[in-house]
Structure formats: C-alpha cells, structure tokens
C-alpha cells in the first residue's frame, strides 16, 4: 500500500460470508453526506472507480461507513484490506440525498412508510431508517435474503425500525418467502397500510417490488445502481430511461420513482461489463443478493 494514500480504514467487520462493513476516514464526505447518497472508491493506482452507497457516517470522527459484497475482482480485492490500511481515492457524497430528508415535516409525519431491503440493500436502507427514527418518525422495514446467513445489519436495524420483518427464501429464518410475499402478507393479511415504499436491493428485486406496489397502488422509491465511471455526470454510462426521459443515475438519482423506471433496459445495460468470471462467482456464492426467482443468475 502506498504511503500517501489517505483514506484510512478505521474499522472492518465481516457481516456475512463475503459481505463486509468498513468505516473509512474521509472528513469532507462525512461532513456533508446524507442518507441516499453514495461514494466512489478507487482502491489503488490501477483500480476501478467502484460506486458504493453510504451506509452510515460519523461527522465528528470524519468517517463514512460502506458495506459491500465481494462479488468480482475489485470488491474481492477490497475485502482483503484491513484496519489501518488505506484506499487511494474516496469521493463523495455523490447523487441526491433521499427525498424524505427534504420533505416538509408535516407531510412526512403523515406518511406510513415501508422500507424493503434485499441482501446488501440493507446497507443503503439502514441510514434512512435511522434518520427517520432520529427525526421522530416510526417506520416499518423488511429485510430479505436467500437464507439466514445472508441477513445483515439485523441488530442495527432493529434499534431504529418500529417493526422489523425478516424473510428468507428458504424459510431458514423469519418469514418464508421473498420480499414480495412478505409485503403481500403485511398488506393483505395483517391489515398494514402504507403510502410509500422505499425498496433497495438487486435491480431484479426492485423491478418485482415495483410491479407489486403498482398493483397495490403504493408509490415506490428505488435506488438504482447501474454501471458508472465518473459519478459526476460526465460519461453517461449510468443513463436510465425514467418515464419518457433519459436520466443519469449519478447526478439525477440514484433514487427514482420506481414506477417510472424502465427496469428491463436497466437490467440489460447492467449486463454490459459482466465478466464471465464475475457471473460464475456470483452463482457459486449462491447469489447472496439475487434471491429473486427470475434473476438471470439462476438461469442458464
């Protein structure tokens, strides 16, 4: 590791097999970031620019928390870094903060909000749930994963969510079924009423959640994670079709009205740089975040 790298890892924790949490020293980012935004990390001289959502921040300590899944060459290399070591670059906060944060308080207090986190999606959902509670609003939250071992941030989330529902595809923990079945159960069987869903997870999960919430007539916000390069609006790699418009996820998002997102196009664009190696790893790791039927990882 080069000596002049300044973004030091102050804490590292393995949350699950191949999912890691790190606190990274980045005072400028920590000072001005909000839930919903993301950073770009470049590990070393030759590394890619890797976008990761901000999972938490400590303005006083000047640290930002990231949670990532080691699924390809870059994130695997990142997972080998230890406390005390440092990354070359750490830029942010990028993108817009969650729209909840700027919503008039009166409007927000009337909203019944359900957060839906799929796999590593717990990381970006966490700071929003925490922010809501800290500002006096109760919210419900679903964490879904393939099996018990892949449920992350449960304890932390329990501290802030009014009701926390865990669901696993194989029923090894909590409710048995994918997140959509859990949403249906809450709404249809448990008499829950929501007027806003915030769903963050693998793109394929967000797609199916949006199909369901459209049927249920519940507005839904999703956080899009397309391929990015610069993260500042310069390259257009992250472009998405939102309604009739083309938007850049990095500067116009990453959060959008899920009912306007063209998910099929976005899923297709996500395939562009998928290395055969990366796909294989993803399958071998049993697609920790890709627990939804219909995901291309389970096909072939």
């Amino acid at each position: 590791m080069a000596e002049n790298y300044k973004y030091t890892i102050t804490k590292k924790e393995a949350l699950a097999n191949s999912i890691y949490l790190m606190d990274v020293l980045a005072p400028r980012v920590a000072k001005n970031c909000y839930p919903g935004q993301f950073v770009i990390v470049k590990i070393d001289e030759k590394g890619e620019r890797i976008p990761l959502t901000i999972c938490d921040y400590d303005r006083e300590a000047g640290t930002v928390t990231i949670v990532f899944q080691a699924i390809g060459p870059s994130t695997q290399l990142m997972s080998q870094y230890e406390e005390g070591e440092a990354f070359r670059d750490f830029t942010g906060p990028l993108g817009h903060k969650s729209e909840l944060i700027d919503m008039p308080r009166e409007e927000l207090s009337k909203k019944q909000i359900l957060f839906v986190a799929g796999g590593v999606g717990s990381a970006p959902v966490y700071p929003q749930v925490k922010w809501m509670k800290e500002n006096g609003y109760d919210v419900d939250c679903i964490i879904g994963a393939r099996n018990k071992d892949l449920i992350i941030l449960e304890d932390r989330m329990r501290k802030w969510a009014k009701n926390l529902y865990i669901t696993t595809d194989d029923g090894s923990y909590g409710f048995k079924g994918n997140v959509n079945e859990c949403i249906k159960d809450l709404v249809n069987n448990q008499g829950k009423k929501y007027d806003l869903v915030v769903a963050i997870g693998p793109m394929i999960m967000m797609k199916f959640v949006c199909i369901l919430t459209k049927e249920l007539g519940i507005k839904t916000i999703v956080s899009m994670n397309p391929v990015m390069v610069d993260g500042t609006g310069m390259c257009g790699a992250c472009r998405l079709s939102i309604g009739n418009e083309v938007k850049f996820a990095c500067v116009d998002g990453p959060e959008f009205d899920g009912h306007l997102v063209n998910f099929d196009e976005a899923l297709q664009r996500l395939q562009m740089y998928k290395s055969p190696g990366g796909k294989k790893i993803l399958r071998e790791k049993e697609g920790a975040t890709h627990h939804h039927p219909g995901c291309e990882c389970h096909e072939e």
């Binding site: 001005n32 500042t232 609006g233 310069m234 390259c235 790699a237």
Partner: protein
C-alpha cells in the same frame, strides 16, 4: 533547405501506430528546431503574437532557439504559458498563431507550435524548472477544476504570491488533458504530469476527489475555509446524445465514456482494472476533435472504424492535422450521412445503424450550409458499437449549488471577458465552463485573465 517550406516533422509510421498508443508525432530535435527557427524573420510588428490567445512573445523565444539558448527560450515562454508542452501539441496553431505568420503569405508559416513543443520538451529533459514565485502574501484563493483554465489561473496566482488550492472532482488533475485527449496525441506521464508538477512547484496545492457542489460548496470554502476568492474552471463535461431510438442499447457510448475508460482509467493497458468494450465495427457519430480521438482510439483497440458526419469534408470541425492522421491510419469517413436509428439485436446489443444520406442546402445561422436529407437514400451500416460525439455542455453541479451565480441559457457561467468576474462577489470563472467546449489555449487565456482580475480585486478589497 527551402525557406518557403516548414522543416518536416518526423512521425510514427501510420501502419505501425494504428496498433499502439505511443505518440504519433516525434517533434523536432535541436538541429531541426534551429533550422526551422531560422525561418522566422523576426518581424518588428509580429502578427503571429496577436493570433495567440495568451500573446506569447513568439519572435522572442524563437530567437533564443536560433541562438542555441533553449533554457532562455523556455523562460520567455514561461512568462506567458504554464503548459507549453501541451499547447505545442494540441493548439489549433493553423488557425491561431501560424495563420497570421508573415511567412505564410508565400509558403508555409513558421512551425511555431512545434518549436514551442521542442522548447518545453527540451526543458523537461534537461530538468529546467519554471521560476519560483517571489514572496508569499498568505491570502487564500480556491480554484475549482484542474483543467487548463484552473491550472493556469492557479499558477499565475501562485507567482503573484497567493496561497492557492485547486479542488478537483476526479482522482487525477488535468481535466480533458487526462481524461479526453488520448495518449497518442498527448502523453500523460511524460508531458501532462510533468507540466502539472511544474504548477505544483510554484506552491499550488491540489486536492483531488473533491466535487464542489457535493463534497463542499463555494459558500463553505469562502465562509468556513477562509478563501477570499474562488475561480471556477470546471469545464464543459456533460455529454449530449441524439435522442434517436436505440441509443440506450448495449454498445452505445458517449465519446466521454469511451475516452475516459481508455485515457483516465487506462483500459488499453491490461494491468489496469477498468474494462472497455473495444468493438469490432465501430461508428463514431460527429466530426470534431473529440470524434477523431474516439475513432482513432477504437482503431488502436482493434476495430474497423467509421466517422459518420452529417456535413461534408470542408465542414469537419476537427483540426486538419487530426483528420489527415485519422485518414492515414485507415478511418473510413462516411460524410454527408446522418443516423436515424440504432438497430438492436434480441440480446439488447447494437447490431447496426440506419442512416440517411444528406446534401448541403442553404447556409444556416452558423453560416455553414445546412445539411438536408436526400430522398430515398436510407441504408443500414452494420456495426456492434456506436460512439456518440455530439459535443458537451457545462455541468450544472456548481451553478445549481451556488446562489447568485448567473448562467446563460446554455448553462454557461456568465463572466466578464476581461476580468473573469461572475455575478457573485469574489467568484470568477473561465474556460469551457464559461464559453462552452472550446480549446486548451482559450481556457488558459481565460485562466490568465481571471488571475489578473482576482489579483486586482483582492488588492482593492
């Protein structure tokens, strides 16, 4: 030697260079430079100087080359320009200094750009550093963006004694010089980095990974961090697309993405992690310098490449030298051709482009003849990759987060042409952020004027 002709410059063989990323043009050696320099007749009233946006004392530095005192030639240029090795390579000399050279009336103009490049390269190879600033005055100025405008402004302010910090959004300073213009025209390590080191040697600090408008704002810099003035040199980096069907298919890129992957992220070098989809049959839509750079990059990555441009050869906005190089290397020009639709296969990838032939009609408001579609002339170009190079516009990140900063309808920051002063007190701007996409030397000229403007402003405060 024929005094009417330029001393020819040595170049890499087109067949060889089409397969590598090494510099196309080798530049002059001392002997060639002196021969070329001797063609300058040292005009009393040198017209060439008026053609240079930073008014380099051209006969002054050329005389020193003739005398064999290259170090002195470098010092002469250094009074006007902080990036001579860059400008000597990428300035559109043929329409600036050289266009006005008296030698050009009968014969070739003096090769001013190549002489400037020679001088800067020689100085670098002989480890000659620019002159150090005089005393520091301790007053802090922030510069946003480490492109040519920002680097020039910062360098000039440092020379005047200011304590200057450049904030750059990307992980490397240089702006378009590092992410846009390819290695084969402008070597990054030897040329760009060295000139940035020279700016740093003047005492300028560069903080990378800071996106103004996100990581911090102009207001915070001025109110909390003690910067008394700010210069915005954030460029015009936002890519445009055509809005035709199929444009979001896999295999369609903006020139910015393609070039950034290759230049900034060094995708052509397999030891770097960022991938690039090279393509086998590539169309680059557009006819400017950026289009030529994207086309020649794709060619070097192994593709067969078309330039698709809706006007004719004479209207190509790219530098003549670049078009010539592109043709030599085997780029196929489909002129008077306009894309209508990008065709997509069942996997979501580009498989072709439906185009229409054009002919030139009446002149439009830009004075160029307007291209109009030829009837029944549609055809399909089979392709697997399309690169859109339709120009760029300024990024609204800064203007949207800085209250009171006036922009025009093209999102360009409004600034006084002479002083660089914007509508916000203490905030100055210049370069592509103000003019829209232009040239390196115009951006440098604007950075220079703004440095003087900031100096006057702070002295009177």
């Amino acid at each position: 030697m024929d005094v009417l002709k330029k001393v020819p410059v040595r170049e890499q063989d087109p067949k060889v260079r089409a397969t590598n990323f090494e510099e196309v043009c080798y530049g002059y050696n001392l002997e060639e430079a002196q021969a070329e320099a001797s063609r300058c007749i040292q005009c009393k009233n040198p017209k060439c100087v008026g053609g240079c946006p930073v008014n380099i004392d051209i006969p002054g530095f050329i005389k020193e080359i003739t005398n064999g005192d290259i170090e002195k030639a470098f010092k002469v240029i250094g009074q006007y320009s902080a990036l001579p090795a860059v400008c000597g390579r990428v300035c559109p000399q043929e329409s600036q200094c050289e266009e006005r050279c008296i030698r050009g009336i009968k014969g070739d103009p003096v090769s001013i750009g190549k002489l400037e490049r020679f001088t800067a390269d020689w100085a670098r190879e002989h480890n000659i550093k620019p002159e150090m600033p005089k005393e520091k005055n301790g007053r802090k100025v922030a510069v946003i963006g480490a492109g040519p405008a920002g680097l020039t402004c910062a360098g000039d302010l440092a020379k005047l004694g200011y304590d200057v910090t450049i904030f750059e959004a990307l992980h490397e300073p240089g702006g378009v010089l590092v992410y846009g213009i390819p290695e084969f025209r402008l070597p990054k390590e030897t040329v760009v980095k060295a000139e940035i080191e020279n700016v740093k040697a003047l005492g300028v600090k560069i903080e990378t990974n800071v996106v103004i408008g996100k990581s911090t704002t102009i207001d915070e810099l001025m109110e909390e961090e003690g910067f008394e003035a700010v210069f915005i040199g954030s460029g015009a980096g936002l890519p445009k697309f055509m809005g035709i069907p199929g444009e979001n298919a896999n295999g369609v890129f903006s020139a910015n993405e393609y070039l950034t992957r290759n230049n900034l992220m060094k995708a052509f070098d397999k030891s770097y992690d960022t991938p690039i989809i090279a393509g086998k049959k590539v169309a680059v839509v557009g006819g400017g310098n950026v289009a030529m750079d994207a086309a020649r990059t794709a060619l070097r990555l192994g593709a067969e490449v078309y330039i698709v441009y809706r006007r004719g050869e004479a209207e190509l906005p790219a530098r003549v030298e670049e078009v010539h190089h592109a043709k030599e290397e085997g780029i196929i020009f489909k002129l008077l051709t306009n894309p209508k639709e990008i065709l997509v296969n069942e996997d979501g990838w580009v498989c072709g482009m439906r185009c229409v032939e054009m002919e030139l009609g009446e002149p439009d408001e830009s004075g160029r003849r307007r291209p109009v579609e030829k009837k029944d002339s549609e055809f399909v170009l089979e392709l697997d990759t399309v690169i859109m190079s339709l120009g760029t516009s300024p990024n609204p990140l800064i203007s949207s987060t800085t209250e009171g900063l006036e922009v025009n309808r093209h999102k360009c920051i409004v600034a006084d042409e002479e002083t660089g002063m914007s509508s916000r007190e203490g905030v100055f701007a210049g370069g592509d952020a103000v003019t829209g996409a232009a040239t390196v030397i115009l951006a440098m000229g604007a950075g220079k004027k703004a440095a003087a403007g900031i100096d006057r402003y702070l002295k009177s405060k």
